[in-house]
Symmetry: D4
Amino acid sequence: MEIQDILRQVKEGTLSVKEAEGLLNMGSYEEMGYAKLDTGRRERTGFAEVVFCSGKADSHLLSIYERLYEKEGEVFGTRASNEQYELVKARFPQTVYDPVSRILKIEKEGKPRTGGVAVCTAGTADIPVAEEAAQTAEFFGTYVERVYDVGVSGIHRLLSRLDVIQRANCVVAVAGMEGALASVIGGLVSRPVIAVPTSVGYGANLHGLSALLTMINSCANGIAVVNIDNGYGAGYLATQMNRLAEQGGA
Amino acid sequence: MEIQDILRQVKEGTLSVKEAEGLLNMGSYEEMGYAKLDTGRRERTGFAEVVFCSGKADSHLLSIYERLYEKEGEVFGTRASNEQYELVKARFPQTVYDPVSRILKIEKEGKPRTGGVAVCTAGTADIPVAEEAAQTAEFFGTYVERVYDVGVSGIHRLLSRLDVIQRANCVVAVAGMEGALASVIGGLVSRPVIAVPTSVGYGANLHGLSALLTMINSCANGIAVVNIDNGYGAGYLATQMNRLAEQGGA
Amino acid sequence: MEIQDILRQVKEGTLSVKEAEGLLNMGSYEEMGYAKLDTGRRERTGFAEVVFCSGKADSHLLSIYERLYEKEGEVFGTRASNEQYELVKARFPQTVYDPVSRILKIEKEGKPRTGGVAVCTAGTADIPVAEEAAQTAEFFGTYVERVYDVGVSGIHRLLSRLDVIQRANCVVAVAGMEGALASVIGGLVSRPVIAVPTSVGYGANLHGLSALLTMINSCANGIAVVNIDNGYGAGYLATQMNRLAEQGGA
Amino acid sequence: MEIQDILRQVKEGTLSVKEAEGLLNMGSYEEMGYAKLDTGRRERTGFAEVVFCSGKADSHLLSIYERLYEKEGEVFGTRASNEQYELVKARFPQTVYDPVSRILKIEKEGKPRTGGVAVCTAGTADIPVAEEAAQTAEFFGTYVERVYDVGVSGIHRLLSRLDVIQRANCVVAVAGMEGALASVIGGLVSRPVIAVPTSVGYGANLHGLSALLTMINSCANGIAVVNIDNGYGAGYLATQMNRLAEQGGA
Amino acid sequence: MEIQDILRQVKEGTLSVKEAEGLLNMGSYEEMGYAKLDTGRRERTGFAEVVFCSGKADSHLLSIYERLYEKEGEVFGTRASNEQYELVKARFPQTVYDPVSRILKIEKEGKPRTGGVAVCTAGTADIPVAEEAAQTAEFFGTYVERVYDVGVSGIHRLLSRLDVIQRANCVVAVAGMEGALASVIGGLVSRPVIAVPTSVGYGANLHGLSALLTMINSCANGIAVVNIDNGYGAGYLATQMNRLAEQGGA
Amino acid sequence: MEIQDILRQVKEGTLSVKEAEGLLNMGSYEEMGYAKLDTGRRERTGFAEVVFCSGKADSHLLSIYERLYEKEGEVFGTRASNEQYELVKARFPQTVYDPVSRILKIEKEGKPRTGGVAVCTAGTADIPVAEEAAQTAEFFGTYVERVYDVGVSGIHRLLSRLDVIQRANCVVAVAGMEGALASVIGGLVSRPVIAVPTSVGYGANLHGLSALLTMINSCANGIAVVNIDNGYGAGYLATQMNRLAEQGGA
Amino acid sequence: MEIQDILRQVKEGTLSVKEAEGLLNMGSYEEMGYAKLDTGRRERTGFAEVVFCSGKADSHLLSIYERLYEKEGEVFGTRASNEQYELVKARFPQTVYDPVSRILKIEKEGKPRTGGVAVCTAGTADIPVAEEAAQTAEFFGTYVERVYDVGVSGIHRLLSRLDVIQRANCVVAVAGMEGALASVIGGLVSRPVIAVPTSVGYGANLHGLSALLTMINSCANGIAVVNIDNGYGAGYLATQMNRLAEQGGA
Amino acid sequence: MEIQDILRQVKEGTLSVKEAEGLLNMGSYEEMGYAKLDTGRRERTGFAEVVFCSGKADSHLLSIYERLYEKEGEVFGTRASNEQYELVKARFPQTVYDPVSRILKIEKEGKPRTGGVAVCTAGTADIPVAEEAAQTAEFFGTYVERVYDVGVSGIHRLLSRLDVIQRANCVVAVAGMEGALASVIGGLVSRPVIAVPTSVGYGANLHGLSALLTMINSCANGIAVVNIDNGYGAGYLATQMNRLAEQGGA
């Protein structure tokens, strides 16, 4: 259907303003002066707005938490510091902070988690990124299994957990250094693998760029790559895939 | 369950050899001298082996098509030349070749296509890569809608096709030059976007690396990136996601 | 004005469908099967559609020239080959081809050229890119002065043409190798300098990337950089600036 | 006219020394020992000298502010710290400092602002760079409209402000991460777009290089790129373009 | 022998579970919650697990030292800080720390060192990396000769120590800046040269990448390159080569 | 021993000229006008001179083969074309050429091969590089086992050949695309792994640079990396290691 | 002396026009339509104009040779093809072409060569670049000694020619692959070393960039680096240095 | 003369041990445990050893200053901190420290300076690198003229100092950002230009790499490039060139 048709139908009354807006996907937003809160996001994408805490001024952070809490009844923030935890906790005592993943959240109780996603790491130093992925997916209703420290230099550790990996709706593979984990998992499963390169390593790891290139060039199929250290993005993508499996197609 | 336990149970007879093999995911393969045909692949990953035709010697190509046809009743090859088409057609008259996508296939008739995936391109020069993605997905049973030439420099073209894009189980976004298409689509849909950078462009496009970086750094969520010009990989990943939606979770 | 308001006014009849479309900038396009001809482009941007000839199939190229000629009465194509010239000339005998700039055009007669833009090159090898810029600007109604072979290794050549450079509405500086020309001109004029790095050079010129970096890092102000060898883009930008000077502000 | 001719005319008295100097564009400068103050800059380029405060010794900074204030009656400095503000304020109480843009200025009162430039950002983290651009343009007499937080992942925010963007003499597009904003705006306006990549982002953003590549490779026309985080350069270029529109051609 | 055969033999009793495990190289591991201690490593690779101390939480570090000490009677850690030394020493008073190599170890007394490896550096700033290599090799039973500060800008220093270099089972060449040392040594010896680029240098050394490229492109043969600053990896590889010479082939 | 001492002893007659030369490792060379044939190489390094055929003029190639045949009774050349084969065969009918590895050799009969080296590839496209490595090692007296097409996307193929890999004196791992094979093998063996990145792949493989980075950053120990496609270098290094095992230490 | 003063003195007659021009270094040039022949170059820099033949149209090449021959009595061209040789020879039978260096020249007879420069190469494949350097220096009056094939993998070849290298006024070191030759020579001589990286090599040589980085990062002092394969530039610089030694300071 | 001949002559007494050593250029060195002081350097290269202070332990620094002072009567150190100044001054009260260039020296009085070298900078931020170059050259006996803040964005500042630049034996051009200064100077002088890229700048300056590429790709001839921020290397090279002019050829 052409735009012109939509407008014509609005004019002719066969389409309501609201319907037209939906078709055009023109959600609303809320002007906050320094920002435009994308309040149409949940309807458009299925995910409420999330707060990237790092670098936000205290007053801004607090007002965003307040505004989102008011609207959603819960708030999910990433890359938060301990100081920001103290700040938000003073206002919302129910706030929870995890220093490993650096996630700062106020979460509704009793939310169900369905489906199944496996989050794997090559080493222990990759765990912070993996936890960001896992907790993001959990917050959005995904059941997560953790399979940590199964890097390819001791491949029997990975093989011993194959059952968990193979039954997941998708697998998140988090690895720094040479990032070979994604390729190995990709050859063993029938579901998509979300590959997260990390900046773990030194020297020619180029702050994660080497692992990124490894994953992009994977000889295995079904490897979906996200940005370096982007645990949140991986958890988001994993949730989307898990929902496809749980809720079925359009 | 530990490996040792598996072996012990095999010894004790509480586990058959076949069951143990399944658990270990140790599919078989067929030694062809110059290659090891991964005959366990379909069972392990849900996809039969595919032929990367480019650079293969004539005799090797033909014997691989023969061996796979015998085993699967159909064969799917990518990056084929017109000469290779002539070669295979002489042996299998039912062979079909598409010079745009460079796909060379022998396909069973009447295969159903289910679900729905949208394949979009920024420009017309991106169509060969998009067709490789689309036809790969179709071969593996996915219903595909094509939305071509909807690049961001004339964004109304994209917006006028939003309905198709928003109802797909996933969207494949194929773009060269600056590769901005993936980000724009990512903000408009609730399903995963598979981003395929192409080598289309010139100068500082770095043979597709610039578009790849754009997609990896996307400010939108739910963007899964594959290698430059990797239409096949995108079609594979799209099929996995489409199957999640059609077949449900594990 | 919010989108919702537009739609409401359309519904209430205080806004016509056409007006609403204009506000939304939703120009139309023409579906050609393999492409979406952006027929709203002239109205939206002030420039008719231009043809990037390189790599286009003969039948596509010819039909695009026919369609655009029908609509605009003239057609402008870049990166054309001599073979494409023969093809188009057979259909439109008035076609003109310049093997240096590789521009293939059918142009209305007697078009005026106004204002003034200076196009400079560092060396003679940069002339093809400069001509693409100059002829693009001329096609779109700009008066152009050429100042070629005035590279910084013999700076008196540039200084002797300062009068031309300083009275232009903007200056296009085309340079390969180390690309220093843009910085020197930038320090001598009050108008914007459009810097075009070229792939001319060898060794560590990185196919033009070195010149691009030079221009992006210029110590002079007022330097606007475009892609390597992008003469068309420079001519387009120069026309926009020339129009600002000739037609005044909004 | 050749240099030799100029000199001959000076000798013959048909050209005054002052006229000859103008032709040669040989402005004067003031030797300050550690620096050569380019006092001919305003006449040559239309802009008075600006101070890059970062890294300057206190005594140097103060003497430069004093010298320029004496000459121009106002001073404009960028990348200043709060400590430098305290230093300059002690000498000039009318000094104003903006910690967001880090601009430290003494400005004449009642200066008019004419024309119109739109400064847009993709996210809120891009605002410091955008403010440097906006305030630079304002200082040099340009009327500026701010359109912040309109990144492409929620494109309706941008579309709702199209009127502002389309009526500007030029648009400054400030974006980090993948930098797609410039391309989208470029396709919607008829005036030049000045693209400013920022270092906002993480991982493969390469400290802004990825956004820079995106903008250089834009599929839209009329995109003029400046260095990463170079708000000042963008404001300068925007002023030049705005002046073209307001003051007309040469 | 096929996997299937192994399992069949286990079932038939012609192969013990332990033998099968050995064939499959499926060593065991110890689940520590946050990590999977690879306790099969020594049997599989001939080297006990080593601790990468940098970034480990105090409690984790201590428990790993305790667990490994219990199992091996000694522990070898790299990239340790002085604070970590104090921590471990409080529990194991026999702990030794070398602030140059940053190695933190508890070592059995009276271990023999056999064979011979030469560790060379180009400059004095490369010594920390060289010491990590040398002490790693020594811990694993290798006799090491140090030949430091023999860079190619004063090549007589190297030539005067040729006897030591030529009689070693392998040579470790540690160099930053341009890293030419490895090529020169490679042309003078009959045994492998392990080349370790270091991040020593400035400017275009690209944090060691330049030296890495030098070594990878060496015109000499027999150059085995490891990661930048990877002294541990070089010591490990040197030990493997020394063992080949001392223990003979399989 | 210092250089001065050597010279003094020569003067005093306690050292013969020949001995002194040996100590200084100053082998002789043969001046051929356009080249200096390094005739002391075998004594110094244990390997006779090898011919890099690519790009050599016909007359030069032939004279080098003649000169080396005269001296060694056999000649080994790499990167040869079929035309060069015809050229050399006309002079030496016993010449053998392998179009896969592009090795052109005249070899003595009945040479023994001892020890054992495993040469593995990830895919079939990596075989040319692997054959260059294998045949180089064989020419220099090494017994080689080939384990081809065992890439990590079907890891059971590799595991089924573990016995061969684990008993080798060293393993050559040849892989393009993401190059993960080296890491996986590295974790399974006690001997050194020589990692050879290949230029096999496309897109972001950067002509082999991605695989090189993967191997340099390997999380496994004992990985010795050589240049992209450098099969000869790997075969040379493998021979050195095999000789260590067969001939023992110094 | 300030510009203003010059002009004033011209006006007052205390300075002739010619003198003023000399002071301003404003040499003349000759407008050739497509180029500006820098006829003041010899006076300004001490070198006549040289022709970069590659890519020049036949008619342009011939007219440039004619014009320069008329003015200088000799012409020096680089990067010429055999076809260009035939073209120029037909007009000037005394033309000489060297297919190795690709230099195409008409040279006056009996020109003296003074001083002394050593041109060294690492391998035989570097000779074309070295010959471009050597013959450039010779054309401009420098006495050259060639020291070829003295790469660092057989360092005795270099040491045996030390006398030649140490007595030269400067040394040109031409090397591809890892480019270590420059560093080794730099440590052995008291005069400047001009380092020329070449594109000789493969894999991670990055078309000469690796050798360039090696030379820029040299641990030796007195290393002056020019562009990859820039033999002409090295010969030019060597001539400048040789002239300093032969003609003395200003 | 061949090595063998040297040794034979030593044996036969026609060559003294000392003469032979000279021919072999085998200077001596002094073993300091952690370093090998290259005491033969002055004889071999004409420059005494210089101290790179940065990162040296206090005890090492002091003992090196003591040892060199004892041997040379003066010491020259670069990249020193104020703390190191205090340390050395306590032992040698005559020590002088310049916080701009970071040079820490004890210098003999009344040393003559001869010849002439011009050291230029593009901006004031490049002065620290320029001072390192200038003071290095002065320490080694070169007369230096400083021409600072003459960047190409105000080219009249450079032109007004042409007399100084053109009469120097060589010119050091120090520039960050886009580094165009070297090309402009290169076209104006007949003597070599030593180009020093600096890390001054931001964004895409890549910490000086962009300026380095500019200089390496210069369209002007006679440009000798050194490493980023390598003022010392430039001063060394300038001294070598100045000595050529002052002392004449070999």
